[in-house]
Each structure stands twice: as structure tokens, then as C-alpha cells.
Amino acid sequence: MGDMKTPQQGMTRRDFLVRSTVVAGSGFLSIGLPGLASKDAAAAGTAAFTPSIWFTMTPDGKTTMHIVKAEMGQHIGTGLAQVIADELEVKWADVRLDTPLESVANFAVYGLAYTVNSGSITTEFDRISRAGAAGRMALIEAGAKVLGVDAGGCYAKDSRVVQKSTGKSVTYGEILQKVTIDKKFAYPADFKGIALKSRDQYSLIGKSVASLDVPAKTNGKAKYGIDVFLPNMVYGALVIPRTRYSSKVVSIDDSEAKKIPGFIKAVKIEEAMGKCTGWVVAVADKYPTAMKAAKALKVKYDAGPYAALDTPTLLAQYKDLSKNEKESAAWVLEGDVDKGFAEAEKTLEMEYTTDMICHATMEPLNCTVQMANGEWHVHIGTQSTSFARMTLTGYLATVLKKKPEDLKIFVHQYLVGGGFGGKQDYDDILAAAWCVKEVGRPVKLIHTRESNFATSFARTPTYHKLKAGIRDGKLMAMNQDIVCGWMGARFGVGKKYGSDWLQLDSVDGKNQDIDQWSIGGSDHWYEVKNHRVRAWNHETTTWAVQASALRTVSNSYNIFVVESFMDEVAHAAGRDPLEFRLSMLNGKGGNRGIPNTGYPPGTPSDYYMDRLWISLPWASENSWPNYESATVGGALRLANCLRVAAGKAGWGTRRLPPNTGLGIAVTAAEERQSPTWVAGIAEVTVDPATGSYSINRLTIAMDPGIVVNPKNVDAQIRGSALWGASQIMSERLTLKNGGFEQSNYHQYQPIRLAQVPEIDVTIIASDHHPSGVGEPASTIVAPAVANAIYNAVGARVRHMPIAPEAVLEAMKKAKA
């Protein structure tokens, strides 16, 4: 993922600089972390002293917030700007947003542009609050100077500095025109002096401010990556390779394509770094021509090592692999599980499996690449312009045999037409860049829906074996074995794959790597004294399906499995699933939460705590100190959400129609470091004749801590809940002959309007540090629905998605 280290000279990135200049009456104020003299910045000819800028204020009173997070449906620019503007006391009407260009120099200034893990507000909140507050303090000081009064008697409000006693005031704009500001808040000495607002003083945080990106999305003016035009540009369409991964092009016959007017060239993409295997791009003057030519090209392939693979084979191999205990790596190890099972009165053993799904974003993957005057320009809507640049740098350095530092690469960010984890791979950029080299013109590469599906970065299939030991109606011991493809390998996670960061070490003393993004979620917040989770990496899967992150990553299957199984255990123990869960969500031990994120690594006494640090490693390089952890309160906050949702859904109090059941699930996705507490109850009616079912109602309660924009949080919860409904009901990606079987939305079916249930959302806002809201609710719907189906008709289906036929079969089994 590139070298993220920035040499620091004398100052740390935790310091703030508030500086303004007055140049011929056009002064501006900037504030941020001093990124300082990185060699990258120096090489790019920027000043040695480079502030890492959060916002820029100009004398006309306008403040522009520089947003490096991708806008892909969460209205994140508005949310981040709300936080800064609140502390800065700037008028909301004067706030503007922009998106910095990604380059080597700007990377040193703005930091890593990467939007992932529902982490934008969680990771930025404290830092940008302080940036805003530091700006306000500097402006009050300068404003007092302009007014000729004592700063101590002044306050800031609505872009003005006001003297309390007289009401005399000066606007921010006037201040910038008259005086120069040059103030440093050094860490840690000056930080105590940065006065953050108390929660009750917030004027923008907590308000449903209208999102700034919305109007342009109603009139066609919003610009996505696919809307880019460059002079002299041509188009590329991908020929679908024989297998998802590792096809080799043997020959290309372009005789038919050549007959198509406007066809320019069939470009065999130079492979490097395991990208673009078997890719051929048809380049033409127009996109329809490129699509036609792509179909007309006759490409012969060596289909590679995965040509015979299909989903059933993978699942069978997973089961076999799980029998090889030597190969396992333990992810959770508490108490003595084997002793717990030995002492149990009753044990329960179940197998669960889940199918692949994919992102299927409404905007197909696309990008436009230009090479001019020795500079490469990439135009794209992506989750990370930084990784896009770094990946292209690595590729071009390899295929053009150049030094990375000699490559000048710029990435222009656009709106992202759906991300969900699916816009953080960059094969398309590499392919477009190679086409540019081959045809000498800018190339706009657009996936057809078919080639987009064929080159999906899929959520791995999974196999789980679970065992519970029950005594006195209590869960005494629990084991979960998980086999799947570890997506992290593709990103170099783990010693075996080239890096010693991002991965976690197994807790069994075997010093094995574990890819937390493939296992997380199994480390639930229930108190189970003897608890073990073991994981196996099915490496073939990782490559064959290009396993990747998809909304909530491993939570998206592990919560289905854990919460379904918890229900099974509750029933086996003769307990009510609600009461059973609440008894274990007691906030004890590793489930208690910790007060802040500032523990030096290794200090906490148990591995749950240790894990907190490793979860967001890219933040740790210049990590932000000592703000309140989202884990505060621990499992007790989750129990609270569950009580709220159960009460509102009428658990145990409502009389339900025939063949109708309620089902419960809880989660603290995304990771133990960044939990968002959420509980959900599904009401489902099953047709016992066909096994088909409909979700009538979802009741969801979420405690995300501070809520920056309630309307946006509500939208995210609803959207993610329906994502969850979609993946339990109908989404299914399958592998056959090494390729994905589904090619368009008639075969791969996301939820449509007619299937949308009533959704009751309760946001339990609290004063705690804000956590992410874009994903967690998507995990609980699948298990809640599965549990509701069981409660409705006694059918336990241990596979996701749940097909009506599987419900019918489980009903027969239950009767037998």
C-alpha cells in the first residue's frame, strides 16, 4: 500500500499551525497539522514547511473545508464540515467544500485519502474538533487586537468576534484583511489550552443540516468518474477473461473487430503485481464501438490454475481443511474451552456456510487516464485516491522500468457512485494507463455491467463449525472454527505476503498471522468464560475470487453465524433468546470497553485491549492521542440497544399472526476498536407451503455516541439494514469453471422497492465519542431474519442467503 512514513523534523504532526497572510488585501487563514518537510514534498518543489490543511478561510468570509474522504452516499463532506464549523464558529452559509488533488506533494499535506471502515467521523472527530477550536481561538485573539480590546472578554459567534461587555464586533473576514495570524499549538504543551465546546454548546453537531452534495444529485449536475471528458479521448471496453483470475492470453484475433468503423486497437494489458490477469481491452473512438469490438475480438486463453473451481468444491475443501487443527490459528482464546465442553451437560454442534456476494455498485468501475507533458492524470471516483496513486506508481515503475520517484502521478477525485468496499482496487487504472501508452491518447475505460461482475472482488465463501457447551442453562464454552479466503493477502497483510503490519498474531503461541478482516465479528461482546475462535486461510479462494472487503467485511458473515448460533444455544438451553443474550451482555472482562485510545501498545492486560491498537494501523504512524474510545461502556451499551429494540418490536408482548415470528440479532461492528452498538428485531412471515418469506418489519436501535447529523445517520441505518435484507433474501454470487456465474442484475438481484419492509429506527445519541454508522446495521438483519424464520415455522437454515427451498427442507427436518 505504499510508504506512508513522513520524516519529521523538530515538530510533530500533532501540532497545529494557524497562519494567515495579508497579501495586497487578500489574506487567507489556514490551519492544520504541519506535515513538514517530507522528502516527497521537497522533491515536488513545495516549501519545506507545509501545513496539512483542514480548511482555508478567505477575507470574503468564506471558509473552504478540504475534504479528502470520498463522497459515496454518506454525505461525509457535510458531516466533517459541520464538526469543524461548529468549533470554528463560522456561519454555515459561508462553508464550502473542496477535494484536494492527490499527488506526492499533497499526500504530505493532506495525509492518506482513504475512506473505509465507516471510520471517517470516528477517526477524524477529535482532531478536526481541535483544529476548529484552535482556529477560533486564534481568530478571537486577532479580533480583539483589531477591536483594541482584551481577548479574554471576547467570544466568537457566526463568523464574528464579539466583545462581551460592549457588543462591539468584527467579522472574521475583516480580521483577515487587517492582521496576520501566526500561531502554533504545540503538542502536548498547548493542547490543554484548546478549549473544545461542551456537548451542550454545539450548534451544528447534532443538527440535520442539509447535505451540500444533495442538490446537484437531483439535476444531473453531479459529476462522477464516468462523467469525465478529456480532449482527444478514446474509449476502452474490457474483453471478459476466461476465469476471474490468472487467465493468460494466448492469442488475439482482431480480424472481425477491424471491420468495425472506429475500432482502434486490441490492447493486451501488461500484467504486473498480479493485476489485470488475462485482460484485453478493445479501444475505439466511441464506447458503443468499443463494446462491439470487445465482443468481436476472439481471444484464446490459457485458463490457468483455477479453471475447474466452483463454489461447491471450495466449500468441500473448507470442511476438509478445518479437520487439520495444526494449520489453524487462534483468534480468540479465553479460559479452557476443552474443559468447558467436558464439564457441560449438553453440547451443540452445528455447521454454517455462506455464499459469496459482490458490491454491484450502480456506477460500474471506470476511470479516465491521460498522459501529458510527462504527467499521468487519473480521473476517477474512488475510495482512495492515495492508494490509486501508489498502485499506479508501482505498476508503471514495473512495466515502464522507471524509478517510482521519477513518475509524476496525479489523481483527480470525483463523486463515487456507490463504494461499499468495491472501489479500492485499481486494476482498471492500470489497464487504462497501459492503453494510454499503447494508443497515445487519453483513455476512458468503462466496465460493462457484465465485465464488472466478471471482475468482481467478491466476499469470500465461508465455512463455520460451531460448538457450544451448556450447563445449568448457561453457555459455558464456545468454539468457532472459520475457514475462508483471507482477503488481506491481496493487500500484503501478513509476513507471508510481504508485510509485518496490519495482520495480527495468533493468540495460541504459534506465532501465525491472522487477517483480522476475514475473522472479525467472531470476537463478539458476550461474556463466555471459555471461548475459542480458530481460523484457517484457504489461500486458493483468496486469489481465485479475488476476495475482498465488502460492507462490514467479515462481520457480514460472522454476525449471521454467531447470532444464529446464539439463538440455537438459547433454545437448547431452554431460555428466551432475549433474556439469554442480555445475561451475557454484562460488560465484564474484555467486554468492558476502555476509556481512551491513548494506551501505548502492549499496556492493556488482555489481548482484546491490545487489539484496539492494531485495528487501524495506518492511523498509528501519526496517531492521534488520547481521545475517548468508542468502546466506552462496552457490552452494556449493546444490552441497552437490545432492550430498546426488543421493547419497540414487542418481543414477548405482541400476539403475532400465524407463521410469523420475531428474530433478534446484535452486533458491535465494525471492529472491537470501533464498535457501533446496534440491535435489531425482524418480523418475518413464512408461507409454509412454499418456504418463501417476507420481512414485514425491522426494528433497529443504534447507539453510535455523538450523532453529527441525525438525518444522515438515519439514512445510513435504513440503507444498510436493507443491504442486510438483500443479502439474506436474494444476493448470491457463485463460481463455476473459475468464473462468476452471474452477469447482470437479472441474475444477481439486489433488493427492490417492492421488497422493502417497514423500518423503525431509534438512534440512541449519547455523549460518547462518535462511531461509524454506514455499515453495522447491515450485519444484524440476516441473522434476525433467520431467527425469525425459526420462530415462525421451526425451520433453522444454516446458510446465507436463505432460499425458500432451504426453508421448506428445514421445516421437513424439524417435523421429522
Binding site: G73, K217, G220, P288, M362, A715, R718, H746, V756
Partner: protein, 154 residues
């Protein structure tokens, strides 16, 4: 050279007659509000009005478009971008990523043009062909009811 009437203006294109209208609108004429989603008529992102009817422009061949046909895209729905559906969409903040929304708005506007008082069931039936991966669905239904109200107030 084929001539098209879009949003009250005449356009010429040198695209071959078998080109899907979608790509002519987007890439030749650069009216990029109309979006490519699937190319198979499954998602509705490319919905435009032809003579007032909502049509999947990825399924219409350029050569099949009558030169007298009145084509309206999201850019031409209202001269001030203030069609009741657009106003209701902003009021209820329907869009999330926004990519499918031009198609959703064009589909919804076509419904209100023939049925100024749609029931929720009619809305669901009319809109069910338009996919939204962010699942902004329930706000769309609310906003269409609101747009019906706004249209009457005008």
C-alpha cells in the same frame, strides 16, 4: 447525420444507428446526468422521457428514434431544476451516492404526469424497476407523495 430533439434543442450526432441512445446522450452530447447502470434495462439508471414516457435509453437504438421524437433528460426536466419531484427530492434528501437518482426522478416525474395522486401501491409498482444500491427506497416513496402535493400547490 441523425438529428435529435433533446430538452428543446436540436443535436446532431455522428454515432452509428445501432448505438444505444444512452451513449449518444451521455458521451456524444455530454448530457451526463443520464447514467449507465447495466445496459440491459434492469436498473433504470438511464431513464429518459421520450414523448413523455419513461424509457430505458440503453435499450433504444439511435436509428429507431424518430427525428420528431421529444426527448427529455434530467437536465431538461425543469428550466430551473425545480420540478416538484426535484424539490421534494431535496426536501427529503433522497439521494445518497446519487448515481441512480436521475433515473429515479425521471421515472417518478413520468408517473405524476399521468397520475397526479398516486397511491403508495401505485408508486411501488411504477418505481420497482429502478434499482438503488444505497436503498434510498422509502424516502423516494415519501418524496413522490410530497411532489404530488407540491405540484398541486404550484
Amino acid at each position: 447525420m441523425p438529428q435529435l430533439s433533446i430538452n428543446g434543442q436540436s443535436y446532431f450526432t455522428d454515432s452509428p444507428p445501432d448505438s444505444p441512445l444512452l451513449w449518444v446522450i451521455r458521451e456524444d452530447l455530454r448530457l451526463t446526468g443520464t447514467k449507465f447502470g447495466c445496459g440491459g434495462g434492469y436498473c433504470g439508471s438511464c431513464t429518459v422521457h421520450i414523448n413523455g414516457l419513461p424509457v430505458r435509453s440503453c435499450q433504444v437504438k439511435l436509428g429507431d428514434v424518430d427525428s420528431n421524437a421529444v426527448i427529455t433528460t434530467i437536465e431538461g426536466l425543469d428550466p430551473s431544476d425545480a420540478h416538484p419531484v426535484q424539490r421534494a427530492w431535496i426536501e427529503h434528501e433522497v439521494p445518497q451516492c446519487g448515481y441512480c437518482q436521475s433515473g429515479q426522478i425521471m421515472q417518478a416525474a413520468a408517473l405524476l404526469a399521468v397520475n397526479p395522486n398516486p397511491t403508495t401501491e401505485q408508486i411501488v409498482q411504477h418505481m420497482n424497476g429502478n434499482l438503488c444500491r444505497c436503498a434510498t427506497y422509502s424516502r423516494m416513496v415519501t418524496a413522490i407523495h410530497r411532489a404530488a402535493q407540491l405540484a398541486k400547490e404550484a
